[in-house]
C-alpha cells in the first residue's frame, strides 16, 4: 500500500493531535480530518486546557503517567520556543488548595510538573477556608490558538480538513483504509459505546489580566485558570446532563465560588459563559477494532473518552493511537497486495 488513506474523525484536541502524530510517524500516509465542528466550536475550545491530569479509575496509573509525561515534555519544548505564543502554550504557576488534607498527598504527576511542593503557612493565609495546599508550575494550552496551530501544521503536511458529519464509521470504508475515531462525545453514537457519558461543564471566560496564577480547589469543582487573554472560571460537573445551554444559576454560583478564592475577580469584565460536555469514561479507549461486513474490513483505531483530562494526556494518547495506526498499516501491507479491503 503506497499511500494509506487515513481518516481521523474529530477535530478537537484529540483528533488534531492524533492526526498530526500520524503525519509524523507515517509520512507516506494521506490523512484527512473529518468533523462536524472545528475550532472555535469544539469541546476543546471550552476547556481551559490546563495540564493537571484527571485520574481515570480504570486506566493503570503508570499508563496515565506515561501519557502525561509525554504530553508535558512535548508542550514544554513548544513553550520554550519562538512558536509559544502562536501555539497558545504558556507556563503558569499557582496553587491547588484543599479544605481538608487529601488522602493522597503526592499525586502521581507531582514529579512531572515543575517545582511541586506543599504550600507554606504564609501562602495558605491567602486561602482562609483551606487547610492544605500544593504549589507548582504547569502548562496551559489556550484554545483556539492551540487548535489553530495544530491545523496550520496539519495543512502544511498536506492533511485535508473537511467539515462533514460522519453518521456511521462504516460509511468511510470505501474512501479510507483506516479510520481513527477521535469523536469525543460523538463516539457514543459512532461506536455505540454505552460506557461513554457526558459530564457537563459550564465555565465563565472573563477579562481579568491581573490574575497571573491558577487556583484550583482540590475538589476539582472550583478553579481559576488564567489564559492568554481571558481567565477561565469554573465550573460544574454534571454527569449525564446533555444540555449545551448556559444556566444562569450556575453562572452566579461559579462566579461566587471563584470570587471567594480570588476576591479581585469582582472586578472582572466582559464575562462570557460557555458549556462543554466532557466525553467521560472509566478509562480512555485507545484501542484497535476491525469493523467488517462480509469480506470487507475496516480497521478502526479508537482514541476517545478523555473526559476532564483531554489536554493533559493528548500527546500521549496520540502517540499510542499513531502507533496502532502503524501496526494496522503493517498488517494491511503484510496481507496480499490484492487488497481485501
Amino acid at each position: 500500500m503506497a499511500s494509506p488513506k487515513v481518516a481521523v474523525v474529530g477535530a478537537g484536541v484529540i483528533g488534531l493531535s492524533t492526526a498530526l502524530r500520524i503525519t509524523e510517524t507515517c509520512p507516506s500516509c494521506s490523512v484527512t480530518v473529518l468533523s462536524d465542528h472545528f475550532s472555535p466550536n469544539t469541546t476543546s475550545d471550552v476547556a481551559a486546557g490546563m495540564l493537571i491530569p484527571h485520574t481515570y479509575p480504570d486506566t493503570p496509573i503508570h499508563r496515565q503517567k506515561q501519557w502525561f509525561k509525554e504530553t508535558f515534555t512535548y508542550l514544554f519544548a513548544i513553550s520554550n520556543s519562538a512558536e509559544a505564543s502562536e501555539a497558545g502554550i504558556h507556563l503558569v504557576s499557582g496553587w491547588q488548595v484543599f479544605k481538608s488534607t487529601p488522602k493522597e498527598e503526592l499525586p502521581f504527576w507531582s514529579d512531572i510538573v515543575l517545582g511541586f511542593r506543599p504550600m507554606s503557612k504564609a501562602e495558605l493565609q491567602k486561602f482562609p477556608q483551606h487547610r492544605f495546599g500544593q504549589a507548582f508550575t504547569t502548562l496551559k494550552c489556550d484554545c483556539p490558538p492551540y487548535l489553530l496551530w495544530l491545523e496550520k501544521r496539519l495543512k502544511a503536511s498536506g492533511t485535508q480538513m473537511c467539515t462533514r458529519k460522519v453518521a456511521d464509521l462504516w460509511e468511510l470504508h470505501g474512501e479510507y483504509d483506516i479510520v481513527v475515531n477521535c469523536a469525543g462525545m460523538g463516539a457514543q453514537q459512532l461506536a455505540g459505546d454505552k460506557q461513554l457519558f457526558p459530564v457537563r461543564g459550564q465555565v465563565l471566560k472573563a477579562h481579568a489580566p491581573w490574575v497571573k496564577h491558577f487556583i484550583r480547589d482540590g475538589d476539582g469543582l472550583t478553579y481559576i485558570y488564567p489564559g492568554i487573554h481571558r481567565v477561565t472560571l469554573g465550573g460544574t460537573r454534571e454527569k449525564g446532563n446533555w444540555s449545551l445551554s448556559p444556566d444562569p444559576g450556575s453562572t452566579r454560583d461559579i462566579f461566587d465560588r471563584c470570587c471567594s478564592l480570588e476576591p479581585s475577580l469582582h472586578g472582572a469584565q466582559d464575562i462570557d459563559v460557555k458549556v462543554g460536555l466532557r466525553p467521560s469514561r472509566q478509562c480512555v479507549r485507545v484501542q484497535r477494532e476491525v469493523l467488517s461486513q462480509g469480506e470487507v474490513k475496516l480497521p478502526v483505531i479508537h482514541n476517545y473518552g478523555h473526559g476532564a483530562g483531554g489536554f493533559s494526556v493528548h500527546r500521549g494518547t496520540a502517540n499510542e493511537a499513531a502507533h496502532l495506526v502503524g501496526e494496522c498499516i503493517s498488517a494491511l501491507q503484510g496481507s496480499s497486495s490484492t487488497a481485501k479491503l
Partner: protein, 348 residues
C-alpha cells in the same frame, strides 16, 4: 500646621497619605499640600514596572530591609481588599536567574514560597545554572499613584503644579514642615553628591502569555544591567539598563537593541510580541536612602525638613516603610513644637 510635600511620585504621595492618616485626627490644624512639577502619569514611579523586589544584597543596611518588609506586609494585607484592583496591586511569581550559585537574599523570608530552581526549570533558561523562584507583588504606578491621589484629595489635601526652587520659598509662605520627596531632582534643592541618576530604559510590549517575571543577573555588571521581563496587567516591561551618571531621558537605539536582543534570547516567543511603547527614566540612586530630619535656621525661625529621597530602583519596594518612618519623624517634630502631648501609639 502647614506641611508641604515636594514630589508626587510614589514616595511623596505615600508619605503624605501616611502622615495624614496618622495625624489629622490629632492635629486639627493640619494642612497638607503637595507640590510637584510632574504628576502621574509623568513621574519616575509611573515608568517603573512596579515589581516588589529589593536589590540582591542590602549591604548590611538592615533598616532598609525592615522598610522593605513593612511595605510587603502592608501591601499583602491589602491584596484581598476591594481597593486592590484600583491600586494596581496583585500577586506575581517568577524567576531570578544567575550563572553561578549565590547566597540567599535578605528578602527570602519576606516574599512567599521562596525556593531554589529545579534542574528542569533551569532547562527553560539556557546559560543560567542557578536561580530562585518566589511569589511577590506587583504595584503598578499608573494605578497606584492615581489611587493615592484620590485618597489624598478625599482627605482635603491640596495639590500644586509647580516646581519648588528652594525650601526657603515654602517656608517664607508660612509652611511649617517640608517633606522633601523630590527624588532625582533633590540635588536642585540641596546639593547631594551622593545622589546620582541610575538611568534605565524599558520597552513595553504586548505579551499576555507571559505570566511570570524573569530577572537575570550578571554579578560582574551589577543590578538591572542584565535582561529582565516583567508582565503587568496591560503590557509587559522589558528592561536591563542601568547607567550610573547618565542624565539623559531620551530613548537610546543602542539600549533598545540591547534590551530587545537580551529579552528575546531569554524568551524566544517575544520576537512575535508587539511593541507598544518605550520609556527612559532616572532612578534616584544613592548609597543609602536619605531619610532624616534637618533643621534649617531661617532668621529667627527654625524650619523643619524631613528628607525622604534616594530610593534608586526600589522605591515601590520600600515606599511604605519609608512613609511610616517619615511620619514618625513628623511626630517627633510635632512633639517638639508641643503640638502633641506624646507620640502616637502602636499604630506606627
Amino acid at each position: 500646621m502647614r506641611v508641604a510635600v515636594i514630589g508626587a511620585g510614589v514616595i511623596g504621595l505615600s508619605s503624605a497619605l501616611c502622615i495624614h492618616e496618622q495625624f489629622h485626627g490629632l492635629v486639627p490644624s493640619l494642612q497638607l499640600e503637595v507640590y510637584a512639577d510632574h504628576f502621574t502619569p509623568h513621574t519616575t514611579s509611573d515608568g517603573a514596572a512596579g515589581l516588589w523586589q529589593p536589590y540582591l544584597s542590602d549591604h548590611g543596611n538592615l533598616q532598609e530591609t525592615l522598610w522593605n518588609k513593612e511595605t510587603f506586609d502592608y501591601l499583602l494585607g491589602h491584596l484581598h481588599s476591594p481597593a486592590a484592583k484600583e491600586m494596581g496591586l496583585f500577586l506575581i511569581s517568577g524567576y531570578n536567574l544567575f550563572t553561578e550559585p549565590v547566597p540567599d537574599p535578605s528578602w527570602k523570608n519576606i516574599v512567599l514560597g521562596f525556593r531554589n530552581l529545579t534542574p528542569k526549570e533551569l532547562e527553560l533558561f539556557p546559560g543560567y545554572s542557578y536561580g530562585w523562584f518566589n511569589t511577590a507583588l506587583m504595584l503598578e504606578g499608573r494605578s497606584y499613584l492615581p489611587w493615592l491621589t484620590n485618597r489624598l484629595t478625599q482627605r482635603g489635601v491640596k495639590f500644586f503644579h509647580k516646581k519648588v526652587e528652594s525650601f526657603q520659598e515654602l517656608f517664607s509662605q508660612g509652611v511649617d514642615v517640608v517633606l522633601n520627596c523630590s527624588g532625582m531632582r533633590a540635588g536642585d534643592l540641596q546639593p547631594d553628591p551622593e545622589l546620582q541618576p541610575g538611568r534605565g530604559q524599558v520597552i513595553k510590549v504586548l505579551a499576555p502569555w507571559v505570566k511570570h517575571f524573569i530577572i537575570t543577573h550578571n554579578l560582574k555588571s551589577g543590578i538591572y544591567k542584565s535582561p529582565y521581563i516583567i508582565p503587568g496587567s496591560e503590557f509587559t516591561v522589558l528592561g536591563g539598563i542601568y547607567q550610573q551618571g547618565n542624565w539623559s531621558e531620551e530613548n537610546s537605539a543602542k539600549d533598545h537593541k540591547s534590551i530587545w536582543d537580551g529579552c528575546c534570547r531569554l524568551l524566544p516567543a517575544l520576537q512575535k510580541a508587539k511593541i507598544v511603547g518605550e520609556w527612559s527614566g532616572l532612578r534616584p540612586a544613592r548609597p543609602s536612602v536619605r531619610l532624616e530630619r534637618e533643621s534649617i535656621r531661617l532668621g529667627n525661625l527654625q524650619a523643619e525638613v524631613i528628607h525622604n529621597y534616594g530610593h534608586g530602583g526600589f522605591g515601590i519596594t520600600i515606599h511604605w516603610g519609608c512613609a511610616i518612618a517619615a511620619a514618625r519623624l513628623f511626630g517627633s517634630i510635632l512633639q517638639e513644637k508641643q503640638q502633641l502631648a506624646s507620640p502616637p501609639g502602636p499604630r506606627l
